[in-house]
C-alpha cells in the first residue's frame, strides 16, 4: 500500500503556483509555458467516468469564451496518455464535442501531490475535482475543491475569471454573486484619515468600510492579463 504524506501539501493563494513539467495529450508541458496567459488547471478523478465526461464537455464548450479572455485550460487525472486519448476520442464520438485543451497524464501523482489534489477520505488513487486559477505572472489566485460525486459549474469558473480580471484591471473587489456590469466594491481604507476622507468624498458608501462604485467601463471579454 502506497504511503500518503503525513502532512499533505497545499499551494497557497497569492504565492507562485508550484512549477511542474508533465506529459500531456499535447506533448511535454511546463507550467512556465503558460506565462503571459491565465491558466485554469483542473483535475478529474478518472477517464471514462460519467460525471467527468460531463465536465469535459462543459469545459470544452467554455473554452472559446475563456480564450477570448486570454485564459487557457489544462486538465489532469491519474491516467495514462493512452487512456486520455481513447477517452477524448470517445467523447468526440458520442457527444460530438472536440476537447481542445491538453490533459496531464499524472501517473506518478507528481502534480497531484504538489497541488494537494488527492483526498484520502475520498480516494487514494484518484484526484478529487480540484481547480486552480493561475494568473499571467504565475501567481495562484483561486482554488476550488469539489468532491468526486459533484460536477462543477463552469458558469462559476467564467464568473470567477471575470471577477479576478476586473480586480486586476481596476483595483476593486467584487461582492457576492457579482456579475460583469454590476457595481464593484472599493477596497476599505486602512487608516483613520483615509476612512474619514472616504466617507466625505464618496456618496456610494454605506459606511466607511463599505463603499461601492459603478461597474468598470471595460469589456472583460477582450484582451485581459
Amino acid at each position: 500500500m502506497e504511503a500518503m504524506p503525513a502532512s499533505p501539501v497545499f499551494p497557497r493563494l497569492g504565492m507562485p503556483a508550484p512549477p511542474f513539467q508533465a506529459e500531456t495529450t499535447h506533448g511535454t508541458i511546463r507550467l512556465e509555458d503558460f506565462r503571459g496567459s491565465w491558466l485554469v488547471l483542473f483535475s478529474h478523478p478518472a477517464d471514462f467516468t460519467p460525471v467527468c465526461t460531463t465536465e469535459f464537455v462543459a469545459f470544452a464548450k467554455l473554452a472559446p469564451e475563456l480564450s477570448r479572455r486570454n485564459v487557457e485550460l489544462l486538465g489532469l487525472s491519474i491516467d495514462s496518455t493512452y487512456a486520455h486519448i481513447a477517452w477524448i476520442r470517445n467523447i468526440e464520438q458520442h457527444f460530438q464535442v472536440s476537447i481542445p485543451f491538453p490533459v496531464i497524464a499524472d501517473l506518478n501523482k507528481e502534480v497531484a501531490t504538489l497541488y494537494g489534489m488527492i483526498m484520502p477520505g475520498e480516494s487514494r488513487t484518484e484526484t478529487s475535482r480540484c481547480l486552480f486559477v493561475i494568473d499571467p505572472a504565475g501567481i495562484l489566485r483561486a482554488m476550488i475543491y469539489y468532491p468526486l460525486t459533484t460536477g462543477r459549474n463552469t458558469d462559476e469558473v467564467l464568473r470567477l475569471i471575470d471577477a479576478l480580471q476586473t480586480t486586476d484591471q481596476h483595483g476593486v473587489a467584487t461582492p457576492a454573486n457579482w456579475r460583469p456590469g454590476e457595481r464593484v466594491i472599493l477596497p476599505p481604507p486602512k487608516t483613520i484619515d483615509a476612512a474619514a476622507e472616504r466617507t466625505q468624498s464618496n456618496p456610494n458608501c454605506v459606511d466607511w468600510y463599505f463603499c461601492q462604485a459603478s461597474a468598470p467601463d471595460n469589456d472583460s471579454a477582450t484582451d485581459n492579463g
Partner: protein, 75 residues
Amino acid sequence: MACIRPDGTLEPAARGVLKALALPQTVEEISRQLRMPVYRVRMSLRELSEAGLVVGEAEHYHATDAGRIRLAQDP
C-alpha cells in the same frame, strides 16, 4: 503536440513555427502570426531548440542553419 516525429519529420505546428522564424521573433509575435496559444509556441520552441533547429537570444528566436535545411527538406 510533440513537435518532431520519431522519424525526424516535423509536426505541422513545428513546421509553422520554424517557417515563422525566418526572421527573429518573440514568442508573442509568433503566437499572433500563427494564431497559436503562447504555451504551444513555447512547447514547440523548446523541442526545436533541443533539436538544434532554433536558437533564442534575448527573447528573440530564429532558425539555425540546421533548421533552415530541415525546413527545405520537409516543406
